[in-house]
Symmetry: C2
Subunit: 206 residues, 2 copies
DNA sequence: GATGAACTTGGACGCTTGTCCAAGTCAAGG
DNA sequence: CCTTGACTTGGACAAGCGTCCAAGTTCATC
């Protein structure tokens, strides 16, 4: 079917994402992408100058998806106090992760791939920028909603949360022990709550 | 030069390790390995039936190196108390990591690679088994040396340490902010120390 | 010194990869 | 209707890949 080149690009990026999610970056060849999109081989090189350009677009798309998923993680139940709110947030985030192992694996693949290709270093950086910002928002929101305050800088806390979450996720991809992962996250959530001061009844101020 | 087939295998594994460390698994082709070892192409297939067999041997070698590095991390200064001991241990481990970024990256690459190839799943598992055991030894040793006791199961603590360390390392590979990494690890070490009871003067008992 | 097993050599093979292009098809504007 | 620019097609190309093998070399053993 005939398409405008920008629409074609979008379609091919989705196709590349599908292939990469299923079989990894290494298996994401121009031909596989064309086949997935049900398109002639030449079309791909009409829409993208290089394979590198396609891969870069794919990487950017993965970061975008990461941002979407992070944003979705911000919706959690009405929390009574900070510890409970953190627990709920952690559970929500983890549910998303546990439901999408292939996407998580692809994220790590993109990271290592980017580290091997200097021109994609920016991609790896933006992965962390996006995630860091999302966690900061979540921490701030949790504190605000419960009227508590963090006793340490939120960016530092967010970086630690992110590191822990990354490590737990990667290990879970290997051992698939969801219960262990949840327990580790809960433990960390309790630690985190220790870096906050409870509300002092000034909830009605705003 | 003529060699026994097992020596040849060892040599080729080292060559493969060198190539993979420098340019990643994707760039680790049979030809590159042969060239690195300064050996004819056919030699590789005389020593290994498959490329898969070579890669499996490489992966095992990386795990082995991980074990060695972990063991080396157990040697740290005489600690006065547990928090200080943990700080010293963390610093020692981090020094090793920061000195070998390419090796760290390769470790993550091996993990994701193994996750994409079901027959290598065992490799990914043993990466964690080795690291987990090393961290457990380190935690036990630190407590023993300072006469303190952990108030939570060591395996749980070790798993959390490992997750955090993994996450911090991966992020450092991307942003190369060593100061931030150290600060995060210190923060976690303090949290860890909170899961211990100080010595009660029964040091002379043993 | 002859024999046979162990190891090396260099090249060939079929396949997949990214890239490229001439010719064809389509849709819109004059 | 015809022209023009945009998009598609199918195949070709060289390079790199893993694999294989027949012939050559080396070395220990008898």
């Amino acid at each position: 079917m005939r398409m405008a080149v920008e629409d074609r690009r979008a379609q091919l990026i989705e196709a590349a994402l599908a292939v990469a999610t299923q079989d990894g970056i290494a298996a994401t060849t121009v031909r596989r992408v064309a086949e997935q999109a049900d398109v002639a081989l030449g079309v791909v090189h009409y829409a993208f100058a290089d394979k590198d350009e396609l891969v870069a677009a794919l990487a950017a798309r993965v970061v975008e998806e990461l941002a979407d998923a992070s944003a979705a993680g911000l919706a959690f139940d009405p929390p009574p106090d900070l510890p409970a709110a953190l627990g709920a947030a952690v559970a929500a985030v983890w549910d998303t992760i546990e439901a999408t192992p292939a996407e998580q694996l692809l994220t790590y693949e993109i990271t290592t791939f980017a580290l091997r290709h200097p021109d994609l270093r920016g991609v790896a950086r933006s992965q962390y920028e996006v995630s860091q910002a999302a966690v900061e928002r979540l921490l701030t929101l949790a504190a605000d909603a419960t009227g508590a305050r963090w006793t340490r800088p939120v960016p530092e806390l967010a970086a630690e949360v992110l590191a822990f979450l990354d490590g737990v996720t990667l290990r879970w991809l290997v051992d698939r022990d969801g219960a262990a992962a949840r327990s580790r996250l809960d433990s960390f959530a309790r630690y985190l709550a220790a870096s906050s001061r409870a509300a002092r009844r000034r909830k009605a101020r705003a």
